[in-house]
Symmetry: C2
Subunit: 304 residues, 2 copies
């Protein structure tokens, strides 16, 4: 492992620790809303769903993109925590029996197994709702204008035209395999939208120009494509132990992936191209963008 | 029917028509997000869940409270539509097999019966998400400050400390009947929080003083209590045909209600008291508050 990569991994780990401390505080029994106490069962299920040992890649992107452009780091951490709530809600709902029906997530029982199905549905709903609470709350030190833009961009990334829409296309893909355009659209919505939001959010937090915002957004798009391609490759090459979840599943279910369509060699080449494109977009920032560039490479090279 | 009541009912009906036209437009295929097309199946399920013949009482409260205090009516309609999306998402998820397991809602198949369970979960998720999109969107003509306050108040009314938290308490109540304090808390969260938000939202939209906002909020609390008590009374006295859903169900499941605890006579008296308290809170506005006062009486007197 070279020195740069090591620095990156330490920084990612430290950021994850910081985000997890914040998420833990946001979901602790002592932080009460100003009016009504929080029902413990539901709060515990939300806490379990969120404090699950994830890499916290999305919050890391928010924080790194924001600091690159001179944004407030504390505000970026809170927006990152909000985004992680959305990501984790989607995992809880995707794992439900009516959806992907998964019992394991990162080697641990999924929320509906650990608790029950009703609690899992409500924990997902509450995490989704809480994300907007966290962004709009007075503790998030940003101008109201930025908060409005973040709420709008996050709602669009997560909703019908984004992640949730991507999930319905994914379920449909089990019955009728989509063509290449369909696969790309599905993936851009299901996994790409939140990753793109993470990068764009950094620009919003920093109050960046629309040109810079657009640049970060395109960077997010490129690494989203890389993320998905790496995932599809891993799905074919990894085993259950490394991934902590059932693998080979997408292929087994007959869902089309670009890897299945074009083969492994094409996929590896395409993956490298996405990373190069992403790095190229950050060229104007020179060495300041080293961490974001390292993230792009990490996404492509990750083994789990 | 006296003339005043008739005027109120016409106004409620006209408002419902207006809100439904807006919801229909917001969920039509021609209104596209600026980036990705909306998957039709999911959009159709959301449309079905929302255009379901409800009374649109919550949006009506938003609009009437906003106009009482001089707020922008078009903005109030959009915030009302957002609130209705949240209300309808909660119905879709509450009806799921893992929750209340209802096949009928207002005499029509529930979303998971009409579509399937996965689609119902995602339609609920997407409606919840869309509510924040609608508020934050540029088409909602309000200062960013007001939008931030609306997002925060709505997220708190709908989430862990509000409606979703109330639903988990409601599910728990099936196993262990709560005491009086527990019933009041459950109801304040499950149904009270959104009704209170509707009234408070009107004050936020109008940019009202914190004193006026507090007054509207307390009015919302009172009519929320009246709404729930009327519901519990109806649940015991009405039949399936009038309600368009299974009734006597809460009692049959052994959930405690205040009516079961204190009897019908007490409940009727208490209901009148809540309406009087609500009307009293609007005393400073005199005749201008006639519509909101009529709403309080309508909530108490409704037969379905």
């Amino acid at each position: 492992m070279d020195a740069k990569r090591e620095t990156f991994e330490i920084r990612l780990k430290n950021s994850a620790t910081e985000i997890e401390a914040l998420l833990d505080a946001l979901l602790s029994p002592t932080v009460l809303s100003d009016e009504i106490a929080r029902p413990d069962l539901l709060r515990n299920a939300m806490h379990y769903a969120v404090l699950n040992g994830g890499k916290r890649l999305r919050p890391f992107l928010v924080v790194e993109a924001a600091t690159l452009l001179g944004g407030n780091r504390q505000a970026a951490l809170r927006v990152g925590a909000a985004l992680e709530c959305i990501h984790c809600y989607s995992l809880v709902h995707d794992d439900l029996p009516a959806m992907d029906d998964d019992d394991l997530r990162r080697g641990k029982p999924t929320v509906h197994i650990k608790f029950d199905e009703a609690t899992a549905i409500l924990a997902g709903d509450s995490l989704l709702t809480y994300a907007f609470d966290i962004i709009a709350a007075p503790e998030t030190d940003l101008p109201d204008r930025s908060k409005t833009e973040l709420v709008l961009a996050l709602a669009r990334a997560a909703g019908l035209g984004g992640m949730a829409g991507g999930q319905i296309l994914d379920l449909a893909a089990e019955k009728h395999a989509p063509d290449e355009t369909g696969i790309i659209r599905l993936q851009a919505m299901k996994t790409g939208a939140l990753i793109r939001f993470a990068c764009e959010a950094g620009a919003i937090i920093a109050g960046a120009s629309s040109e810079e915002r657009q640049r970060l957004r395109r960077f997010g798009e490129k690494i989203g494509l890389a993320f998905q391609l790496a995932d599809d490759i891993l799905d074919l090459t990894s085993d259950t132990k490394t991934m902590g979840k059932a693998t080979g599943k997408d292929a087994a279910r007959g869902k089309g992936t670009l890897v299945a369509l074009h083969g492994m060699e094409w996929a590896e080449k395409q993956l490298r191209q996405h990373v190069e494109d992403a790095e190229e977009l950050l060229h104007p920032y020179g060495e300041h963008a080293a961490m974001l560039k390292a993230t792009a490479r990490f996404i492509a090279d990750r083994k789990s």
